[in-house]
């Protein structure tokens, strides 16, 4: 191909087969910048909102083999959590009750939906356990101890939500490590008297300590009461509470 002398070209357009960027190509740079900045923000949004346990874990509501209603038993009938979950004060694991606990009442109770009770009776007659699905399930490397929490004044509802209003139990809280640490760093914001642990309607400002301050804010009352209980129940210092080996042994 013969080179044109450098002085020759009158116009670039005059040369055939020569690629010329179209005029809109000038838009590509701002377009890429906008996409990079916007995409970055977008990715942050997606990861922040979508990867959080609020999206991935909270709201897990598995179907149970028998549609047992906590709303009826714990809510309407007001049966204490410990009637069924008997081990919670003594052991790390708050056991699901054996079929016998259901049969305490359901041997003679006539119910609205006998088909459901049939499964319980079948379990009772055959000795095969009802395979309840675990709703609140921590990773296997976390050694959570129910008795340690319940005996130091952490309420059931603090981690499990308003179970007394759940016809089917679901995971109401994040149960992530950062979520656990909010309390391990500042337990005074969550502690309640031991005898109120299973109370689903408990609030700090109803405590007799604030009887002469009816207008006290819940958060203020909680903090004041929590600080007192923290000392009374000998809750460990925050350094211990945040130590790795406290939960990961």
């Amino acid at each position: 191909m013969a080179e044109t002398p450098p002085t020759a070209p009158a116009s670039l357009d005059a040369q055939p087969n020569r690629f010329i960027f179209p005029r809109w190509a000038n838009l590509l740079l701002p377009f890429i910048i906008v996409m990079a900045v916007g995409g970055g923000l977008y990715a942050t949004l997606i990861v922040g909102l979508g990867f959080s346990p609020q999206a991935t874990d909270v709201g897990y509501m598995p179907e149970q083999p028998v549609p047992y209603s906590h709303e009826l038993h714990a809510g309407k009938l007001g049966i204490d959590c410990r009637y069924c979950h008997t081990t919670v004060e003594d052991a790390a694991f708050a056991a699901s009750p054996p079929t016998q606990t259901c049969m305490n009442c359901h041997t003679n109770v006539n119910v609205a939906n006998p088909g459901n009770i049939q499964k319980i009776k079948e379990s009772w007659n055959t000795g095969m356990p009802v395979q309840w699905v675990k709703v609140h399930d921590l990773p296997d490397y976390v050694f959570f101890n129910h008795s340690a929490h319940v005996n130091k004044g952490v309420g059931c509802a603090t981690c499990h939500g308003q179970v007394d209003q759940m016809p089917t139990v679901y995971q109401a809280k994040e149960l992530s490590m950062s979520w656990c640490l909010t309390c391990h760093r500042e337990p005074e914001k969550f502690l309640r008297p031991r005898d109120q642990v299973t109370n689903m309607k408990w609030s700090a400002k109803d405590h007799p300590m604030f009887a002469d301050q009816p207008d006290i804010a819940e958060s203020v009352a909680q903090l004041e009461l929590g600080k007192k209980l923290k000392v009374e129940y000998q809750v460990r210092d925050t350094q211990y509470m945040q130590s790795c080996s406290t939960c990961h042994r």
Binding site: W24, N26, G50, G59, Y60, N108, N110, M128, P129, Q171
Partner: protein, 250 residues
């Protein structure tokens, strides 16, 4: 070279006015913007809704390890329990520590007949702490049927009566018949059940708790028709006011 400045200078004002991007570029942009809302909508839904689908584990780590934990299932055993049941009749270590009266509520006489412990066994000191514990345990395990004051109108009992099954109403614990029962008999009833009442030994594994409930039931029985003179000053005033109101009402 001489013509170049003229070309740019003539084109530049036009470019600043309006450069029309090609159709495909505009389309991609619009589609991207619209599509970007789909993950956001899915995430928003996941954040607020409840779902029976398993939790999403974006990072597996060692969250689920091939070990059996409490109350898990195992395909190895025919009943599906990973934990084995204790052999029938197993007694936990320390469960029989104490006198027969403390452990069972009775002693066997020479003929092998049970003799109820009339009063609390020597291991138990009836004090305020025991009564408070008894009240707490009573409210958990007994109140659903026997009611807060022991007369047998607990919420479970009420509902069961409403539903009209073969429910036998819970006993009135402040009734004369039960008042006369020896303490050991009440203890045995809690441990092993009686007639249609199921045993609560499994749910109340600590013997002291069962005795605490017996003590609290005794307290309920005493309180039920306690003379006004025995009440603390504050309650006494209230009771007297109530009585006065009833008299004037009649």
């Amino acid at each position: 070279m001489s013509s170049q400045p003229t070309t740019t200078s003539s084109a530049a004002p036009r470019g600043r006015r309006r450069i029309k991007p090609p159709f495909w570029l505009v389309s991609i942009l619009i589609i991207l913007v619209i599509a970007s809302w789909i993950p956001l909508a899915v995430i928003a839904r996941a954040r607020v809704s409840k779902s029976p689908l398993p939790r999403i584990q974006l990072i597996q780590d060692m969250d689920r390890q091939p070990v059996y934990k409490t109350q898990q299932t195992s395909p190895v055993f025919s009943d599906g329990r990973a934990m084995r049941m204790p052999i029938a009749g197993t007694v936990g270590r320390g469960d029989l520590r104490g006198s027969d009266n403390y452990v069972m509520g009775y002693t066997l006489d020479d003929k092998g007949q049970p003799q109820w412990a009339v009063d609390f066994p020597q291991e138990i000191t009836v004090d305020d702490a025991l009564l408070q514990r008894g009240r707490q345990r009573y409210d958990i395990y007994c109140l659903p049927c026997h009611g807060a004051d022991g007369i047998g109108d607990g919420p479970v009992n009420q509902r069961a009566v409403e539903l009209r099954g073969s429910w036998i109403p819970a006993a009135n614990l402040v009734d004369a018949a039960i008042r006369e029962r020896p303490a050991g008999h009440l203890f045995n009833t809690i441990s092993r059940g009686i007639r249609s009442m199921p045993p609560y030994g499994e749910q109340l594994p600590h013997l002291r708790d069962r005795w605490a409930i017996v003590a609290y039931v005794r307290a309920l029985q005493v309180s039920h028709d306690a003379p006004i003179n025995l009440l603390p000053a504050k309650l006494k005033q209230r009771a007297q006011a109530d009585q006065a109101r009833q008299k004037t009402g009649n």
